[in-house]
């Protein structure tokens, strides 16, 4: 599988496209979909794991993108970053609402996620990701893994507790400390 280079991933060329979508240009919307759907689907599928549910959710996400395109502000986020926030929020709402694959019932589903490994090892990274990664590397290894599992696999505190065999209370306080450490490290 080829991965997008950071410059493409940041999607500078998408800004004019977003502007046209905000003006209700359906051709631009189709082009935006062609250029971004695999990326968003990757995010949604990684969280939801089931293709049927993920494709249903992806449809809702693009309807939202169409309806909210006029709210996009190029000074605050890249188009792909803005769309990824919509996609993650929708996928997380879905995964919390009804767990499509129970970790207890389908250990092989969990296995797939684990085998997928640490996505951070895979690619040429943008400056923002490199900076974030340096800060993540300052966390204790198991806490770093908990943060990444939460983000990539959409696990709740309870699910993290089961996967990493720690009490929920411990997971919660580790998450909180890790978040504050990350915030202070990133200096934003």
């Amino acid at each position: 599988m080829t991965l997008q280079k950071p410059a493409e991933a940041a999607g500078a060329g998408l800004v004019p496209l977003m502007r046209r979508v905000a003006e209700r240009d359906r051709a631009a919307f189709a082009e935006l979909y062609q250029k971004t759907s695999a990326k968003l689907y990757g995010i949604v599928l990684r969280t939801l794991r089931r293709r049927d549910i993920a494709e249903e959710v992806l449809q809702e996400i693009y309807v939202q993108i169409w309806e909210r395109a006029h709210q996009y502000d190029a000074t605050r986020a890249s188009p792909l970053g803005w769309m990824a926030v919509i996609a993650r929020n929708r996928a997380l709402d879905e995964v919390r609402r009804k767990r499509p694959v129970s970790l207890d019932d389908a250990p092989e589903a969990l296995q797939v996620a684990v085998d997928a490994g640490d996505p951070l090892d895979l690619l040429e990274q943008s400056e923002a990701l490199q900076r974030l990664r340096r800060c993540l590397d300052r966390l204790e290894p198991d806490r770093r893994q908990i943060v990444l599992s939460a983000y990539y696999d959409g696990l709740s505190r309870e699910e993290l507790a089961r996967r990493f065999s720690h009490p929920v209370g411990t997971i919660k306080s580790w998450l909180h400390r890790s978040l504050l450490q990350l915030r202070d490290c990133l200096g934003q």
């Binding site: 905000a22 209700r24 759907s37 695999a38 689907y41 449809q59 309806e67 951070l120 690619l123 934003q188």
Partner: protein, 238 residues
């Protein structure tokens, strides 16, 4: 932890995705009224957003775009206002500030916003107004189509009140500056159309609108008598 830390861990967990369904819903509701929380969530989206780069793309089913387009068409057909609801929710915070300022003027009557605040939407001749029940939720959505001379009103958060009627008013200096009734409106969650009386275009474009809660059957005096709804005229798009 400091107050800022408290907000940042809640916002951070929201973005990280570790909250359960109830907590997620509660944070999503709180961010609508707590600007600090909303800002903290946006900051975390910035901080963690780069992680998304590392997720490998996966091509969805080839037929998905046409399904999405069909959904968009279906929603557009459902009513001229459907698309705007999202816009309106996002603007709630700004309206709230306007509403607070406007409340001072509201003595007993209507609060409305001059149409001059409205920029002309892409569909020429169509204006939209939001009538809020309170500071938190839009109550009615009004569209005025000056080309077809139809006004369409739809309840969003408003409920029918037993023994009471909602009445729509127009006020314009060109109409003597006193509220004129545009008729009773129903608190229905689908758009209900009414003919727009034969006021001149320029009158309607510069008029203000309001909704008041009246005894059943409408105001006995021909003027608003009951509590009024805040009315905000906004562009139908953009």
């Amino acid at each position: 932890m400091t107050d800022r830390d408290e907000i940042d861990v809640v916002a951070g967990e929201f973005v990280l995705g570790t909250l359960d369904a109830g907590e997620r819903a509660s944070v999503a509701a709180r961010r609508q009224r707590e600007e600090a929380l909303d800002a903290a969530i946006k900051a975390w989206e910035q901080r963690l957003g780069a992680l998304g780069e590392a997720v490998p793309p996966v091509a969805p089913d080839a037929g998905l775009l046409s399904k999405i387009e069909a959904r968009i068409d279906a929603r557009a057909m459902a009513g001229p206002l459907t698309d705007q609801v999202v816009t309106l929710e996002r603007r709630a915070r700004r309206w709230r500030r306007i509403a607070v300022a406007a409340s001072a003027l509201a003595a007993c009557l209507l609060i409305a916003i001059g149409v001059r605040e409205v920029t002309r939407p892409q569909t020429a001749g169509i204006y939209t107004a939001v009538f809020q029940k309170d500071d938190a939720s839009p109550a009615f959505l009004l569209t005025v189509n000056l080309d077809t001379r139809v006004l369409s009103i739809r309840a969003v958060a408003a409920q029918p009140q037993p023994g009471k009627s909602y009445q729509l008013w127009i006020v314009s200096d060109k109409l003597g500056g006193v509220p004129r009734s545009l008729g009773l409106i129903e608190a229905k969650h689908v758009p209900v159309s009414h003919p727009l009386p034969g006021y001149e275009r320029a009158v309607v474009e510069t008029a203000t609108f309001g909704i008041s809660l009246e005894p059943a059957g409408g105001s006995p005096t021909g003027r608003p008598t009951g509590p009024a709804f805040h009315a905000k005229l906004i562009a139908a798009s953009r």
